[in-house]
């Protein structure tokens, strides 16, 4: 139509497609690696309910609003909900998994430093969603 040749646009589109392919491939590879749960991971059952978190360790001990784990060990969270949707989040460790009634979702992490981190709810769940918070304590192994 408009007389001029269109090669700059073709090059540009090719570059964008290549970039997207690269982003996709990197994302795919990373996600594949981080979804692989170590076999010795300890299971923690995380229950979300309006508006607090409960944690149940393998030995049956329960914590509310606080979670104590040991540095250097792997943990697998089984995230469930008693009422509406929530989302279990430890932002510093990029742990994020929705708590959905009727489902068990899993996510894992292995804390690598001693310290304290915020736990929060990242899915809207009503009145006190803004304060559905907790604290993660990563401690030295008691051995």
């Amino acid at each position: 139509m408009s007389g001029h040749s269109n090669w700059p646009e073709w090059i540009y589109v090719a570059v964008v497609i290549a970039l997207m392919a690269w982003v996709g491939a990197e994302a795919w590879e990373t996600e594949r690696l981080i979804e692989h749960v170590p076999e010795d991971a300890k299971i923690i059952i995380v229950t979300g309910q309006q508006w607090f978190w409960t944690f149940e360790h393998e030995d049956g001990t329960k914590e509310i609003g606080e979670l104590h784990v040991e540095v250097g060990k792997a943990y697998k969270f089984e995230v469930i909900s008693k009422d509406v949707n929530h989302s279990f989040n430890i932002h510093d460790y990029v742990v994020l998994m929705d708590a959905i009634p009727g489902r068990v979702n899993t996510v894992w992490f292995a804390p690598d430093k001693v310290g304290e981190h915020d736990i929060q709810c990242r899915e809207y769940c009503g009145l006190i969603h803004y304060n559905m918070r907790g604290t993660l304590y990563v401690t030295e192994p008691s051995s």
């Binding site: 589109v13 996600e31 510093d92 959905i100 899915e123 809207y124 009145l127 918070r133």
Partner: protein
Amino acid sequence: MTLELQKPRPIWQIMFSTHHTDVGLLYLITSLTFLFLGGSLALGIRAELFLPGSQIIADSMTFNRIFTVHGTTLIFLFIIPFASAVGNYYVPIMVRYKDMAYPKLNAIAFWMIPPAGVLIWLGFADFTWYATPPYSIISAPGPAADMWIFGLKILGVSSVLGALNFVVTILKCKHPDMSIGQIPLLAWSFLSSSLIIIVAIPTFAAALLMLLTDRLGVSGFFNPAMGGDPIAYAHLFWFTFHPEVYVLVIPAIGMMYEIIPRFSRKPIYSYNSGVFAFVMLAIVGFSSWAHHMYATGMSFTEKTVFMVGTLAAVPASAMHVFNFVATMWNARIRFSTPMMWAVGGIALFFSAGAGGVVNSAMPLDFTTHDTYWVVGHFHLFVMGTIAFGSIGYLYYMFPYVTGRMYNETLGKIHFVLSFIGTVLVFFTQHVLGLYGMPRRIYDYPPIPEWIAMNQIASIGAMIIGISMAIFLANMIYSAGKGKPADTDDPFGLGGRYYYPFEAKNPSH
């Protein structure tokens, strides 16, 4: 070109008219009203978040209702009716037909919007703009929730009726001398977005009814206590609303296709790639909906499929950006108010898309999902791209609709303040998201970075608020008292850059 009959008429003649420019005017006034109403709610939200603790909003319930109605209003009662306004004014003219294909249906589609708006505003629901179950079934207080559901139901029907009308007007009523390859890109944008609406909306319409019967306790589609699954709702919702984001953005891009070549005083770089990119977005937009659901516990395969589907739509968006930049390249650009808005809108469109790619890459989305990053991401589209394109277009239409010129200096001040404000609010919100602040929270712990960035965002919002007050004053004053416009060349571009056809007199 003129878009409006100059002789003054009583308001009821416009209200009961079915002529496309009259219905366009009704859409326009309605959408701008809701822009200001919804925008005021945003100022309330930003004032509340200026500091931790309770500021101006008494309790979290009120806060939750405010952000729910804010989002619902601006998407469904500002952006969509604004596009319909532009489509009503321009599509018949662009296909050289006397009116929309079904004028009465057109008026009916418009008149469904005010009652829906009233339902949403009188109800003031709190369950966010996606009404997720089971919260929306077992926790959200009625009758607000039910009024919202009915409001959205009505808006959905109105959208589908409007879309059918655009499709028929373009495909069946266009002048026989014109081929489909000759209609302007703005008309193509309405054809593409209307086709998306027709395919996408019925799914949400069904989900809304299921949600309502779930609330009434007679079904349990999405209620786990009755054997249902909330994830099913998420799929139905996003199957409609990911494509719907293209319904929102495509007409705004179409408006930029009217503004940018004209004020660059050049033809568009490539008409064909504009058409191609619209059609691609309309099709590929259906392959990515569950990128909103990476954290719901989908399998690795599902996540991969939807990531690929999302990334596949990016080249089409990028083609529009290229087309605009290539058109402006070496052009004799005239930076009148409409052009400033359009160019600013493209810059923000590009930034928004770049953030979207980050969301799409699944491991990165676990950092950004449901934080302020996502709020920043989609506001760069809805405010930065769509509202910018729309406001630019409003300035562009103004002389044709009113026969008068707006104040150019105030128009430019409006743009500069809005642009600064938009960058301050929504770029900052991206960073805030990286620091982990969840969205939809009434209060937050006093983390120094969070406070600083919330304050920058709130100041940005105030700047936008001030610019919008200037805008309102400019529009109201100039519509009545502005200096008469030269409707052959209101922007001093030289006559041959304008659209050659006029609206036909309704009294035929």
